[in-house]
Every structure is written in structure tokens, then in C-alpha cells.
């Protein structure tokens, strides 16, 4: 029984660390939704681009890991801007569902492009970071770094949104799209900047994931659905809600997966999501609709 509890504790702690990464992934999507009112269904595929970038720069071109990470973030950030300018902007004033579907097309496109360019094999950095030992509990350093980085990124984003002029403008646009142009804020410019930040967050997520997971063309389908569901569960556009929801989801997956099997962990998380949608359709922390 005692052994069992230690492993359960390990699952809970791993869930916490996993939650940190999921929270970061949800943050970028939430920011974009909150400001531009568009769901990037292909968000996880942007992350995949970042993972490939880091992988190739680090293993093939032998650049230092930190440079590869910076490049990964930059590349995905540019992809975010391109996505907005080329794909989202033309449908911004049509029916909202078109914006969802159009990014679905980008999902197919990027996934297939990765298959064409890199094949279907799984690739990893070949790094193996040690694990932190706490008595009988093993926590991989890659997860610890990932969770810490995610936390720092969230604090930085929070300060940026609260303390800077640009951040204030972004928050203002998300609150009232009609009024802000009259106040001298150009929504078009803010949208591009938000897309760059959202992409950058996806890129940062990619750097953290590539430490722990192999990259392959379908990786987006592993992380994409969870990320949207976390955002919706927290209330789309509500960053604090997304943060809380990420930890709840991670616990379901980690502990549920520990008690049964990893797929059942996901099934339980998704069923929990569906049930919560009926109880609190506005999201965990959302206000009244």
C-alpha cells in the first residue's frame, strides 16, 4: 500500500509539471482567441513546425540548443503572423465558423507538408536529461524545466499585458473592437502583433515539448485537441481559467493514466470536459454569458 501511494504521488507531481506545459500551450491560443476572436485549430501544427526547427538546427546543423530554441520561437512567431495575414484576415468579416474551418485546412496542409518534407518517422533530439530523485520519486528534469519556463512565460506575458502600452492596447481591443479604433488603436496592427505573440508562445511550447517528446507529422493531433478543450473548459479567451483547466486536465491524464491506462486518462479528461460544458458552458471561471 505504501509503495502504491508513492507512485500515486509521483503521478500527481508529474501531472502538475505536465499541467504547467499545457497551461503554456493554452495561453497562446487563449490570447489569440481573446483578442482576434478566432480559434486556431492548427495551433498544435504551428508547434510542430517549431519542434522540427529545433530538431534540425540542433541535430543536423549542430547549433547550440539555446540558439535552436530562439530560432524555433522566432520561426513559429513568423508563422503565426503569416497565418493571420494570409488566411485569417480574408475571412475575418465572414461567418465565425469559416475562421474555424479555414484553420482546419491549414492543419491538413501543415501536417501533410511535414509528411512530404520529413517523412513519417519519429525524431528526437537524442538528449537525455537526468531525473530528480526525491526518495523513491523520480521527476524528469525536462518536465521540471518545462513547467518552470511555462510559469515564467506566463508571468512575463501577464506583466506585458498589464504594464505596457501595447499590452493595454491588446486588452482594450479584446474588450471592445468597435470603440478602440476611435481611440487611435489600429485593430489590424494589434491583430498582427497578437498573432506574433501567440505564435511565439506556440514556439516556446514547442521547445519545451521537443525535450520530452519525439516529433512527427501527427504530433499536432496529440496535443491539439487537449489544448482547445483546455481553453474552452477555462472559458475561451479567459487566460486564468485556461491556467486552472490545464492543471485539472493534466491530473486527469496523469492520475487516470496511472490508475488505468493512458488512453483512459484522456477519455476521462474529455468526458469531464463534456460534462463541464453542460454545467458551466461559459467555462470554469467565465462570467455570465
Amino acid at each position: 500500500m505504501e509503495i502504491f501511494d508513492v507512485f500515486l504521488l509521483e503521478a500527481v507531481l508529474n501531472g502538475l509539471l505536465f499541467g504547467g506545459v499545457l497551461a503554456l500551450l493554452a495561453l497562446g491560443l487563449n490570447l489569440v482567441f481573446g483578442v482576434i476572436d478566432v480559434v486556431w485549430i492548427c495551433y498544435a501544427e504551428l508547434m510542430m513546425i517549431g519542434m522540427y526547427t529545433v530538431y534540425f538546427l540542433y541535430t543536423v546543423y549542430k547549433l547550440p540548443l539555446i540558439v535552436a530554441f530562439a530560432a524555433g520561437i522566432l520561426v513559429v512567431s513568423v508563422c503565426g503572423v503569416l497565418l493571420h495575414v494570409l488566411v485569417i484576415r480574408p475571412v475575418l468579416n465572414t461567418e465565425p465558423i469559416n475562421q474555424l474551418l479555414v484553420t482546419g485546412g491549414v492543419l491538413f496542409f501543415l501536417q501533410a507538408a511535414a509528411t512530404l518534407a520529413f517523412g513519417v518517422q519519429f525524431r528526437n533530439l537524442g538528449l537525455s536529461l537526468p531525473s530528480l530523485e526525491l526518495g523513491e520519486i523520480f521527476l524528469p528534469y525536462s518536465r521540471i524545466y518545462a513547467a518552470l519556463t511555462a510559469l515564467v512565460a506566463m508571468v512575463v506575458l501577464y506583466l506585458f499585458l498589464k504594464k505596457t502600452y501595447l499590452g493595454t492596447a491588446i486588452r482594450a481591443i479584446s474588450q471592445d473592437r468597435q470603440i478602440m479604433p476611435l481611440m487611435g488603436v489600429s485593430p489590424g496592427r494589434i491583430y498582427v502583433i497578437t498573432s506574433a505573440i501567440g505564435g511565439g508562445l506556440a514556439g516556446l511550447g514547442a521547445c519545451l515539448l521537443v525535450l520530452q517528446y519525439d516529433v512527427h507529422p501527427a504530433i499536432g493531433l496529440t496535443f491539439g485537441p487537449i489544448t482547445f478543450l483546455i481553453c474552452v473548459l477555462g472559458g475561451l479567451g479567459n487566460m486564468v481559467g485556461g491556467f486552472v483547466a490545464a492543471f485539472i486536465f493534466a491530473q486527469f491524464i496523469s492520475v487516470g493514466g496511472f490508475l488505468l491506462h493512458i488512453e483512459w486518462g484522456y477519455v476521462m479528461a474529455f468526458v469531464f470536459f463534456i460534462v463541464m460544458m453542460f454545467i458551466r458552458p461559459q467555462g470554469l471561471l467565465g462570467g455570465k454569458q
Partner: protein, 334 residues
């Protein structure tokens, strides 16, 4: 002449297997008909703004319930299919009722159904001891003794039999579309898709109307999944359920045109011919080229042709027709 044209077309189509066109073209036709059936079923909801990413779940339920009952209990698909449909309908109600009752629409509806489709796929994978997991499963053959068909097992060595089954289903779906199109429910649904509160205020039972169309669509999709499994004699969680299939359905329908009766069919023809054409032109070695082009086309379609191929063509004709009628002297039969 105009009224007879569809019947002539159907008769011509029904005669195709008699012409001895070879297995491969017949296979393509069957796939087109089966997918057209599923796509048309999806559009029953999609055309009214109920964009569901959950149809992968309904297809998966149809395919797996039938195959599992047959493999583990030897239950004939003739009973398995109704049971699969019943389960799909139950799931549709379970998800649909609260969604519609609590006004979960648009993005939110799409994402809730996306969760549903992943739940279905993951449950299939997780029950790997029964379902074969992500490797998929083959329905036990009933033709081991060299029989050419088994009506009991709904298995046919001859493709022509399946061609007629698929043809009947597809015609059935078109008929259902037409019935919906000419019913009061259509006006109710159109009102709902514009403004739910206004629709409710003029006496439309919003929840019940949406639920009815959802149940109809889910039941037909489950039947499509079951038939797909019976025809391929192989089911795999990724080819009959999951987000990939759900997106494929949505894409094909958008490409063809979701607001016109034959739009989903045009979508099926277009996507299958594109995939097969590329496969023949480029070969098996290049993976992902068809999806690459699909993805790009999907983006282009939504930006430039939101009504789809057939929708666009009919729009053009309609405009030309309207111009011709306007030019013609008043009172002449149009």
C-alpha cells in the same frame, strides 16, 4: 424532360456494374457513393450552421458495434446495424440535448463535438483487447468455404452487390435531404441558425428541432460507418473515427457545397478523384501529397468559394437564368 432527367441518371448509374467496367472503377464508384451518403448525412446539420466535428464518433460507433457484435457474438449485421444506429442515436441525444438546451452554438458546439469524436477514438483504442486497438480489426469472414456471398453476414465477394447497397443508401440520403428541404423543419432550422431567441419567440421549439435533425444525421452516419466496415472488411480507429475523419467530412462537404442537395456528392467525387488521381500520377511513395493539396484547397475554398464547387456553379446558372427571365417578355412561362 426536366423531371425525367434524374430518373434517367439513376437508371444509367444502376446499369454501370452490368457493363463490366472492372473492379477498380467499380470500387471507386462504391467509395464515392458511400462517402456521398455520409457527407450528405453530415450536411443535414451543417447546412443549418450546426457544424459538427463529432461525426467521426457516429461513424466509428456504427462500424465498431457491428464488427464487434459479429466477431465476438456472431450476431448478424442485420441486427448489429440497428443496434449500432441505436447507440449512435443515444450518444447524439446525450450530447445534443444539453448542447441545444444550454445554447451551446458555433465554436463551442464544434469543440464539444470535437471532444466527443476523440472520446470515441480513444475508447476504441483503449479497449484494445476487444477492438484490436489502433491496429484495427477485420470482421470474421463468412466466405471461408468459397461461397460468393453471405446474406447473413452481409459480406459479398462480388462488388456489384455493395454497389447497389451504396446506391440505395445514397438515394435514400438525397430523399431525406429533399424531405427536410420541403418540410416546415427547414424553415424552423433556418430561423434558428439566424437567431435562436427570435425563432423561439415565434413558437419554434429550438431544442427539439435541432435534436431531431441531429439524431437523423447521426443515425445515417452510423449506418454509413457500418456499411463502410462491411465493404472494406477492415475497421481501424483512425479510418472510421477521430478528428481526422471528422475534418475530412467537413472538408469534402465544404468543397462540394453544403447548401445544395448534390453538393456533398460533388465533394465526395472531387476529393476521391483528386486523391486517386494523385496516387496514380505520383505513386505510392510520396505520402501526404493529396492531403497537402486538400488542405491548401480547403483554405482557398473557404476564402474564395464559401458555397463550394456545386454551390458556385448553381449560383452562376441561377444568375444567368434570372437574367434571361428578366429579359424575356413578362407572362411567358419561365
Amino acid at each position: 424532360m426536366r423531371r425525367a432527367a434524374p430518373w434517367i441518371a439513376v437508371a444509367a448509374l444502376a446499369a454501370v456494374p452490368l457493363l463490366g467496367i472492372g473492379k477498380y472503377p467499380l470500387h471507386l464508384l462504391i467509395m464515392i457513393l458511400l462517402w456521398s451518403f455520409v457527407y450528405t448525412s453530415w450536411s443535414l446539420m451543417g447546412r443549418f450552421g450546426l457544424v459538427s466535428f463529432g461525426h467521426g464518433a457516429f461513424m466509428g460507433i456504427g462500424a465498431y458495434v457491428v464488427t464487434m457484435l459479429w466477431n465476438h457474438y456472431g450476431l448478424t449485421p442485420w441486427l448489429g446495424i440497428p443496434l449500432g444506429i441505436a447507440l449512435a442515436v443515444a450518444v447524439a441525444v446525450l450530447i445534443g440535448y444539453p448542447c441545444f438546451r444550454f445554447r451551446i452554438t458555433g465554436h463551442y458546439f464544434a469543440l464539444v463535438t470535437l471532444a466527443l469524436t476523440e472520446v470515441a477514438r480513444l475508447v476504441i483504442v483503449a479497449l484494445r483487447d476487444q477492438t484490436g486497438g489502433s491496429l484495427g480489426v477485420t470482421p470474421k469472414t463468412a466466405l471461408a468455404g468459397g461461397e460468393s456471398f453471405s446474406l447473413y453476414a452481409l459480406q459479398f465477394a462480388d462488388k456489384a452487390a455493395f454497389f447497389y447497397i451504396a446506391l440505395v443508401c445514397w438515394l435514400g440520403a438525397l430523399w431525406v435531404w429533399r424531405r427536410v428541404d420541403r418540410s416546415m423543419a427547414r424553415y424552423a432550422m433556418e430561423a434558428i441558425s439566424q437567431e435562436e431567441d427570435a425563432a423561439a419567440s415565434v413558437g419554434v421549439n429550438v431544442t427539439r428541432t435541432k435534436l431531431a435533425i441531429t439524431v437523423l444525421s447521426a443515425a445515417m452516419t452510423a449506418l454509413g460507418g457500418a456499411l463502410y466496415g462491411q465493404y472494406q472488411l477492415y475497421v481501424n480507429p483512425d479510418t472510421v473515427s477521430g478528428i481526422g475523419i471528422s475534418l475530412q467530412i467537413v472538408f469534402a462537404v465544404i468543397a462540394g457545397g453544403m447548401y445544395v442537395q448534390l453538393g456533398p456528392t460533388v465533394g465526395a467525387v472531387f476529393t476521391l478523384l483528386l486523391a486517386e488521381g494523385l496516387r496514380i500520377a505520383v505513386g505510392h511513395d510520396v505520402h501526404g501529397l493529396d492531403t497537402f493539396i486538400y488542405g491548401a484547397l480547403l483554405v482557398i475554398f473557404i476564402i474564395y468559394m464559401p458555397n463550394g464547387i456545386l454551390g458556385r456553379i448553381l449560383e452562376r446558372w441561377g444568375r444567368r437564368g434570372a437574367a434571361a427571365r428578366a429579359a424575356a417578355p413578362a407572362g411567358s412561362p419561365g
